[in-house]
């Protein structure tokens, strides 16, 4: 089986971006961060206000589980939103435009189109920056959705139907807790991703980068469709567990 490039696999994860860098096994980090996250959830509901404040301190180690660069991108995007900071935009462009181009190339876009659309994606980031909410998603996730929609629009010439968040019943919305843990959750999600077995990662990678239905992905990997689906199910259960959701 061909190993797709850019595989999310490392024996160790570097922690911290400054002078001190700690190398730690992602599996171990996953367990630790899940425990910290759980402690935070319990403490934040404690009836004593002083202890509830302690819960906020625990967010710091959780933040450390995301690469320093990624955290920096969130802050830069907020700066673009608040004061149309062009230097911040240039830094976001330097980081994201080549990744969006790589994403479009992987999905089969011709090189010139990928180049144009990558610039278009960053222009969209500038236009929509005021809608970015760092509590809900990271800059990378937000840009992924922009690039994804741009590709469907420009290359497939289709629309992407989306539910309207303002159209939902209030009682059906997720509670504030879920929104807070979403932000810290991205770090834990990335760690959990590194602990998945290679066969599950391969299926996930093809799901994002192959633009094929899962029946064709199964053909490409030479395994039955049922196996593809069960690998996805197992992977999702592991990721949800890492986020502290019900498996």
């Amino acid at each position: 089986m061909r190993r797709p490039e850019g595989v999310i696999h490392g024996l160790f994860t570097p922690l911290g971006g400054g002078r001190i860098k700690l190398l730690i096994h992602p599996g171990l980090l996953c367990v630790i961060s899940a425990m910290v996250a759980h402690a935070q959830r319990v403490l934040s509901r404690f009836p004593v206000p002083a202890i509830r404040r302690t819960a906020k301190l625990l967010r710091f180690p959780l933040k450390m589980t995301r690469p320093a660069e990624a955290l920096e991108m969130d802050a830069l995007l907020v700066r673009v939103a608040q004061c149309q900071d062009r230097a911040a935009f240039a830094a976001l462009f330097a980081y994201f435009a080549p990744r969006v181009k790589a994403y479009l190339l992987r999905l089969g876009a011709p090189s010139a189109t990928a180049e144009d659309l990558a610039q278009e994606a960053l222009l969209n980031l500038w236009r929509k920056a005021h809608l970015f909410d760092p509590q809900k998603a990271s800059a990378a996730t937000w840009l992924f959705t922009i690039a994804r929609n741009l590709r469907i629009d420009a290359l497939r010439r289709e629309k992407r139907p989306e539910f309207d968040p303002q159209d939902l019943m209030p009682e059906a919305g997720p509670d504030a807790d879920a929104a807070i843990s979403q932000q810290d959750g991205e770090g834990r999600l990335r760690l959990a991703l590194k602990t998945l077995p290679p066969d599950q990662i391969a299926v996930i990678e093809l799901s994002y980068f192959a633009d094929k239905p899962h029946s064709e992905i199964a053909g490409e990997l030479d395994i039955p469709l049922g196996t593809v689906k069960s690998r996805l199910r197992l992977a999702m259960a592991r990721l949800k567990q890492a986020l502290g959701e019900m498996p």
Binding site: A90, W126, F144, L189
Partner: protein, 218 residues
């Protein structure tokens, strides 16, 4: 049209992932997005899968752009206008906004096409071999036993129905694989209205439907 009862049947991981990754076709995306209107669990899972997409994007080996790409883009910043969310007219009967775009209005304004005394339908759009329809049955109406050339995705919008695999109410999502032969019967109470996506033609078991089906585009 609130999800007053619990939702028991959801799209599987593969469908949610294809929707989040943007590889699902428009018809499949529409029925998954409309399910998400009803289902908080699938909305949360959808967000998780988008975060996963963000992580995948982060991990890609960057493909450098031309040397003047940044300068060109910076020069265009002044020409773009800030994005504004499109304003949509409010629904008068709780029809999900994502579906209204395709109906051109509310569910209660749909001009149904009759197919016998108890069933009616309206075709929303067709892409290659994929057809998206609304189906409506009065209580007790049955679709007639049929199987499918490809998978059939069904989302209940109002009322409910029952087949060999179980009972489906508002917000419930059924994935009927090509092999399944089923006869769906509308539950008592209000009319059952479903959003249905079929891949390829239906295969009816009854002779009358075999003959009549193609006339209605089934």
């Amino acid at each position: 049209m609130s999800a007053s009862h619990d939702i028991h049947h959801h799209p599987d991981e593969a469908l949610l992932l294809a929707y989040a990754a943007g590889t699902a076709d428009e018809a499949t995306s529409l029925v998954v997005a409309t399910h998400m209107h009803f289902c908080v669990l699938c909305r949360m899972q959808g967000r998780t899968l988008e975060s996963l997409g963000g992580a995948m994007l982060d991990e890609l080996t960057p493909a450098p752009l031309a040397g003047d790409a940044l300068q060109n883009t910076l020069a265009r910043l002044d020409q773009v206008t800030p994005y504004e969310r499109p304003r949509r007219a409010a629904s008068r009967d709780g029809t999900p906004a994502v579906l209204r775009t395709y109906l051109g209005g509310d569910l209660r304004d749909v001009r149904w096409r009759r197919m016998g005394p108890r069933l009616s339908f309206v075709e929303l759009f067709r892409r290659r071999d994929v057809t998206v329809r609304l189906l409506r049955g009065v209580p007790g109406a049955d679709s007639g036993a049929h199987s499918h050339a490809g998978a059939e995705l069904t989302l209940v919008l109002k009322g409910g129905y029952t087949d060999v695999t179980g009972n489906y109410g508002p917000g419930d999502f059924q994935i009927a694989d090509a092999g399944l032969v089923h006869n769906t019967v509308a539950d008592p109470g209000e009319d059952c209205i479903n959003l249905s996506v079929t891949h390829g033609a239906l295969r009816f078991e009854k002779l009358l439907q075999k003959i009549a089906g193609p006339f209605f585009g089934f």
